[in-house]
């Protein structure tokens, strides 16, 4: 997973698998939690840039 687009694609696939029942709920929960952590990490980077009054340059979000 190199960037936010990849993450979004994987989350979309995860959602479809959950709807179809082709993935275990526990596995889906853990994967979703991990995605949440990745999203939070980007938010923290944005907060850091804002507090330093800099323009954020986050490769993951490009």
């Amino acid at each position: 997973m190199k960037n936010i687009t990849d993450l979004t694609t994987q989350l979309t696939d995860l959602f479809e698998s959950l709807k179809d029942g082709t993935i275990d709920v526990k596995v889906a929960t853990e994967m979703n939690n991990t995605a949440g952590k990745i999203i939070n990490a980007q938010r923290v980077q944005l907060e850091y840039a804002t507090l330093r009054k800099e323009t954020p340059e986050i490769k993951f979000l490009e």
Partner: protein
């Protein structure tokens, strides 16, 4: 000699009046203008004398043509909103203030209900505003450090999907526990 006027039906009379107006448009307009210049308060006095009748007719028209009026208002809004944003905002504020002054209890009740419904809709539909709110809410470390507009749209989309999956997982777990108890 007795002049016999032709007997007309209502529709025929209207058609005759329309045709007469079209044929004498400029002359009639000039006469009307001259009359109003000589009697500037005529419309005000007429309204005062027939207020209830005019209001009743207006209400009757509004009830009978609700869809048509709403459509016209929507059309005006779309056409003029962007051009007259400030003007529309001032009008809306004035309308709210007028309604609040008229009946503050009813106004506050209606506003609270509308607010609750709006919040419910935001949460149910996972609107951009709601997702941005979730991303920028006060963390355990303290007050929010970034504003909603600082969050890029791509992050909002990812968060929305994450929330959808979370809801789906909760649904699945709920269904399973129901099935287990039954």
């Amino acid at each position: 000699m007795e002049i016999v006027k032709p007997k007309r039906t209502k529709e025929e009379a209207r058609a005759y009046q329309r045709a007469y107006y079209q044929a004498n448009k400029e002359r009639i307009k000039a006469m009307v203008k001259e009359f109003h210049e000589k009697n500037p308060d005529y419309m005000k006095q007429y309204y005062q004398a027939n207020k209830e009748k005019i209001k009743a007719k207006r209400k009757e028209y509004q009830v009978a043509n609700r869809e048509k009026i709403s459509a016209k208002q929507r059309e005006w809004s779309h056409k003029n909103f962007a051009e007259n944003l400030e003007k529309v905002r001032i009008q809306r504020r004035a309308t709210k203030a007028r309604m609040k002054a008229k009946d503050p209890v009813a106004y506050n009740k209606k506003a609270a209900k509308a607010n609750i419904n709006s919040q419910k809709k935001m949460v149910a539909e996972l609107t951009d505003a709601y997702v941005r709110q979730k991303l920028t809410r006060d963390s355990k470390d303290g007050p929010r450090k970034i504003s909603a507009k600082d969050i890029p749209q791509s992050l909002v989309e990812a968060k929305r999907l994450q929330l959808l999956i979370l809801r789906k997982v909760k649904d699945e777990e709920h269904n399973r526990s129901n099935y287990a108890t039954n």
